[in-house]
């Protein structure tokens, strides 16, 4: 049973560029949440997708956007990259039915903005 997968594992971009990160949820899960983990900090909630719609958003600017596909996979897009966007981006999945309180995390995508 495959867990949560994310791609790519590492990414280097320059300021002002745009980036797309991808996530496939754990089998049987339909809800995807994205978190940003800056160096030395705990993860911060960006947003959550369910039934292809964003249903909750954290305190992040509109430069951060996302999408969920019919197969429940998800993308995180960040426009106009800033140096401060350098972080580990974690995707977590959960079930919209039983056990939805428990989120399972992927290995993350480490983004470096130069």
């Amino acid at each position: 049973d495959a867990g949560v997968t994310q791609s790519p594992t590492h990414l280097i971009k320059t300021r002002g560029q745009q980036v797309t990160l991808r996530c496939s949820p754990k089998s049987g899960h339909d809800t995807v949440s994205w978190y940003q983990q800056a160096l030395g900090q705990g993860p911060q909630f960006i947003f959550q997708y369910y039934e292809e719609e964003e249903r909750q958003r954290g305190n992040f600017p509109d430069r951060f956007s996302g999408h969920q596909f019919p197969n429940y996979s998800s993308e995180l897009n960040v426009n106009a990259l800033l140096l401060g966007d350098s972080a580990l981006y974690l995707c977590a999945s959960s079930s919209g039915l039983a056990g939805q309180e428990t989120q399972y995390f992927g290995p993350g995508t480490r983004l470096l903005v130069l």
Partner: protein, 118 residues
């Protein structure tokens, strides 16, 4: 809003010694509580969770945690640590939709780095 405070940023211990990692939370409503572990250059792995019922929760790898509502704490313990337990540990809370929260968003503490020395 909820908040989580992990009282120690670093905890060094010797192998086979007991350890306690402290976590306090703040919330005006009842919450769910979680401990996650992050090994170097990896994502987060769920250690254990408290949803309701018995306040002593057992998790994987010999870890356990005790929920104390009056002290708003959820400390993590292990009676005897191994070198392989060296990692960053995160305490997190969420508020279920029925209790004023929405969609189980996790709020994390800043983490405690556990270093087990031989």
């Amino acid at each position: 809003a909820q908040s989580v405070t992990q009282l120690d940023s670093q905890v060094p211990v010797f192998e086979e010694a007991p350890v306690e990692l402290r976590c306090n939370y703040s919330s005006s409503v009842s919450v769910y509580l979680f401990w996650y572990v992050q090994y170097p250059n990896q994502g987060l792995q769920l250690l254990l969770k408290y949803l309701s019922g018995s306040t002593l929760v057992k998790g994987i790898n010999g870890f356990e945690a005790e929920f104390n509502k009056s002290q708003t704490s959820f400390h993590l313990r292990k009676p005897s640590v191994h070198i392989s337990d060296t990692a960053e540990y995160f305490c997190a809370v969420s508020v279920p939709p029925g209790r004023g929260g929405s969609n189980y968003k996790l709020t994390f503490g800043k983490g405690t780095l556990l270093t087990v020395n031989p």
